[in-house]
């Protein structure tokens, strides 16, 4: 019996591995293709449908083209400010609310949950948001990007569920010893919540890193624009080069530049993700179990 079971398990494992392997290929192939394109000289762009790249034909001209742009470092800095600044505000707002709503003895907890659900289900829309931001004179500052998204209800609920799963006995013991709620949060709950903090932090960080639409709406100064907006402007400049003849444009192919722009924006996240992956799965699953 156990032999049959192990055989089944073996087959299951094999099928699962093959399936996951195929999925990996499906995910990695487009990325690999984009990378190859980004390092292929114009002359060989047509042949870049091949999946392997000849090292002799490599070029990093596309990356150099972006990085030599006078605004690249400024835009990169702006993206970092938006990402880290936004992340700090996000966690500062999300953690206390998630913790408060995870405490079952909180007076009016059900009512608060309902109130919180309203903006989650019914979005006010673009125009009212624009009016609020402009009414508060937040235009042309990073606050216009950060404050409207200071808290994501979805992320807050995931975090609340994770906090709620932390054994009540631990919290009770601390309270019996005279600990206040802040002490419980910072000394008991948060040290046990690293997976969810990293998971939710990654959600927020990725969102901020990719900010494109709101900067276009609210940041009129080029000095404040983040990396995605700059990359878009450079690429749009390539599309207009049929109308002007100034020495402003690319010396490499448009396809390679587009591919390089994708890689440049992905790179920081790709570097961070492997380090927190083990927490990521644990955090998102644990937080998502309870409704």
């Amino acid at each position: 019996m156990s032999k049959i079971k192990s055989h089944d398990e073996y087959v299951f494992q094999l099928v699962a591995n093959i399936f996951l392997g195929l999925m990996l290929v499906v995910v990695l192939l487009p990325l690999w293709r984009v990378f190859i394109l980004s390092v292929t000289p114009f002359k060989y762009v047509d042949n870049s449908f091949g999946l392997f790249v000849n090292p002799i034909k490599w070029t990093v001209d596309s990356y150099a083209q972006f990085m030599s742009h006078p605004s690249f470092l400024i835009a990169f800095r702006n993206s970092l400010i938006i990402m880290f600044g936004g992340l700090a505000i996000n966690l500062f707002m999300t953690v206390p609310m998630a913790y408060a709503l995870s405490v079952r003895s909180l007076p009016g907890r059900k009512w608060l949950n309902v109130v919180v659900m309203i903006p989650f289900l019914f979005n006010a829309g673009l125009i009212p948001g624009y009016l609020v931001v402009t009414g508060m004179h937040l235009q042309n500052s990073f606050w216009a990007i950060i404050i409207p998204g200071a808290i994501s209800i979805y992320n807050m609920f995931i975090m609340r569920n994770f906090f709620a799963e932390i054994p009540m006995d631990l919290k009770e013991a601390a309270r019996i010893d005279g600990a206040g709620e802040l002490f419980v949060l910072f000394r008991i709950v948060l040290p046990l919540s690293i997976p969810i903090m990293l998971t939710i932090g990654l959600f927020y960080a990725v969102g901020h890193w990719n900010e494109f639409f709101t900067p276009i709406l609210y940041l009129n100064s080029n000095k404040l624009q983040p990396l995605p907006v700059l990359l878009r402007n450079i690429l749009m400049g390539l599309n207009t080069n049929e109308f002007v003849e100034y020495d402003t444009f690319s010396q490499v192919s448009v396809q390679s530049l587009k591919a390089a722009s994708i890689f440049i924006t992905m790179l920081p996240m790709m570097m961070v993700y492997p380090w927190i992956q083990k927490y990521f799965v644990k955090g998102s699953l644990a937080g998502g179990i309870k409704g």
Binding site: I127, I234, G237, E245, Y246, F249
Partner: protein, 520 residues
């Protein structure tokens, strides 16, 4: 008496001095301008740009520039949001469809009253009645239509070195063009011993009702059958969709034939401009339709030049069809439109806006916004033509670093000889041949084009996406051989268009064009 006269004179002089002094020191008008930037990657003029100082001191205007997003879609979004929240800037660049929409909502002001305040600008920028019609709502101008891109910039080109190698003449009819395409496909015109070339190259680029069908890259084929463009503008009696014209089906049959016989690069059915341009630069095909600057300016030609130092591309007249018709493309009206918000006009900023625009049309404004500071960024000869003699190369107006200084140039350019000469200079190719992009443009400009100016005025129907999708996809299926092409299937196709409201669209469009006096 004399004393009192002197006293009165002094008093009145003081009064006048105070009055004029007060005028000169009056608080400058704040103008918020959302600019359609000339070079999207370059950024705005620096804070110490001399133009700000001149505009403030001479015109009494505090100009605040905001560069609009680089893509049309993002521009529309930004303006739509500002319009919906009634926070439009004083003056802003906007596309025609959105302008008409917000004009009808009363968010932008008619600008007819500003024209007499800027006579020079009106003469140089707003004197083309056809262009002005683009911004008319109920006979009033709701926008300032600056001259847009140059006209007739695209046309048919051919690899002359391939013609020479195969001993062929420049084709003049659609049948001759077909024969040349066959030779380019089968006779190894590049001499590399490989069967790797095609006669025709193109890509499918239809995007809206005005360019419905296969898109503009096939205009020279459609033109040979008298059906270039979506509409038949020959006369009011004949006004209808071109697909109803028997010549249209013949053109589709021609494209189907060259596709079946593999005389056209098979990548044509993919809407990829970059790929298309990469492929002619790599010598994949010998006959195609291209924009003159995308073809021949140094930055764009260099890849082809590097790959084929002995290669030569020449413009040719579009081929004549069975009835002797031909067209390289469509004559359409285009403009870069600026609108004045109703809010700005109500608050009395109209005269300041007119003053700014009039200054931009003056010599001072024109050269400063268009080329920078004379003696620093450029020099000019007695006729006003630009040169860089004696200019520090690092500060030349044409360098990458100086582009922010001329971000307003599209508000002053009028496509005159001064601009064209510097925008499209001649140069030597690798084989020592003089390349003259403007010469190619002039060739296109003098070639046959189909009049379709009214196409810019036809408002799209509410189901425009469904309509153009059906219109385009079926044509591509016919051409690719994925759908039989005979009397029955063609009639079914036309019937399908009618079921999507083709006749109503024709009727509405005709009424509008008659009203605009664009049909006779």
């Amino acid at each position: 008496m004399r004393k009192s006269i002197i006293t009165a004179s002094i008093a009145s002089t003081l009064l006048i001095a105070v009055a004029f002094g007060g005028y000169a020191q009056a608080k400058p008008v704040d103008l918020d301008l959302w600019l359609l930037q000339a070079v999207t990657e370059a950024g705005p003029p620096p804070d110490d740009w001399v133009g700000y100082k001149i505009i403030r001191e001479k015109l009494g205007i505090n100009l605040k520039l905001t560069l609009q997003p680089s893509s049309f879609t993002d521009q529309d979004t930004k303006i739509s949001v500002a319009a919906a929240s009634n926070t439009l800037p004083d003056i802003f660049g906007v596309n025609r469809d959105l302008l008409i929409k917000i004009a009808k909502q009363g968010l932008v002001a008619p600008v007819d009253s500003l024209l007499p305040m800027m006579p020079k600008r009106t003469e140089t920028h707003y004197s083309d009645p056809m262009r002005n019609k683009l911004v008319m709502v109920n006979k009033k101008m709701y926008g300032l239509p600056d001259p847009g891109a140059m006209d007739r910039v695209e046309g048919l080109v051919i690899r002359k070195d391939w013609l020479d190698k195969l001993g062929l003449k420049v084709p003049t009819t659609i049948d001759e063009l077909y024969a040349v395409a066959r030779a380019f496909t089968t006779k190894d015109p590049d001499g590399n011993g490989k069967d790797d070339t095609y006669g025709f190259g193109a890509y499918y680029e239809s995007s809206n009702l005005a360019t419905a069908g296969f898109g503009r890259r096939f205009d020279y084929i459609m033109g040979a059958y008298g059906v270039a463009g979506t509409w038949n503008f020959e006369s009011a009696d004949k006004f209808q969709f071109n697909v109803r014209n028997p010549g249209f089906r013949k053109a589709v049959e021609f494209i189907r034939k060259i596709n079946e016989e593999k005389l056209i690069d098979p990548s044509w059915s993919a809407p990829n401009k970059d790929e298309f341009r990469a492929r002619w630069k790599q010598g994949k095909f010998g006959i195609w339709w291209e924009q003159f600057a995308a073809l021949a300016t140094q930055a764009n030609y260099k890849d082809f030049d590097n790959n084929f130092p002995k290669g030569e591309i020449i413009p040719i007249l579009p081929p004549k069809g069975p009835e002797g018709k031909s067209a390289n493309g469509l004559d359409t009206a285009n403009a870069r439109i600026y609108a004045v918000s109703a809010k700005a006009m109500k608050s009395g900023k109209g005269p300041a806006i007119a003053k700014l625009l009039e200054w931009m049309a003056s010599d001072e404004g024109y050269y400063l916004c268009g080329f920078g500071v004379e003696g620093v960024n450029f020099n000019k000869d007695a006729k006003g033509y630009i040169n860089l003699q004696g200019i520090d190369p690092a500060k030349a107006y044409s360098t990458k670093a100086m582009q922010p200084l001329t971000q307003l140039r599209n508000m002053v350019y009028i496509n005159n000889d001064i601009e064209l000469a510097v925008r499209y200079p001649t140069y030597k190719s690798a084989n020592g041949k003089t390349m003259d992009p403007l010469g190619i443009w002039r060739f296109f400009k003098n070639s046959p084009y189909t009049q379709a100016i009214g196409s810019s005025l036809v408002d799209p129907p509410s189901n425009v996406n469904d309509f153009t999708r059906y219109y385009n996809e079926n044509l591509v299926k016919f051409a690719l051989g994925q759908q039989a092409l005979n009397d029955k299937t063609w009639a079914a196709y036309i019937k399908g268009l009618d079921s999507l409201g083709a006749k109503d669209i024709e009727k509405t469009a005709k009424a509008k064009l008659l009203d605009a006096e664009l049909l006779e």
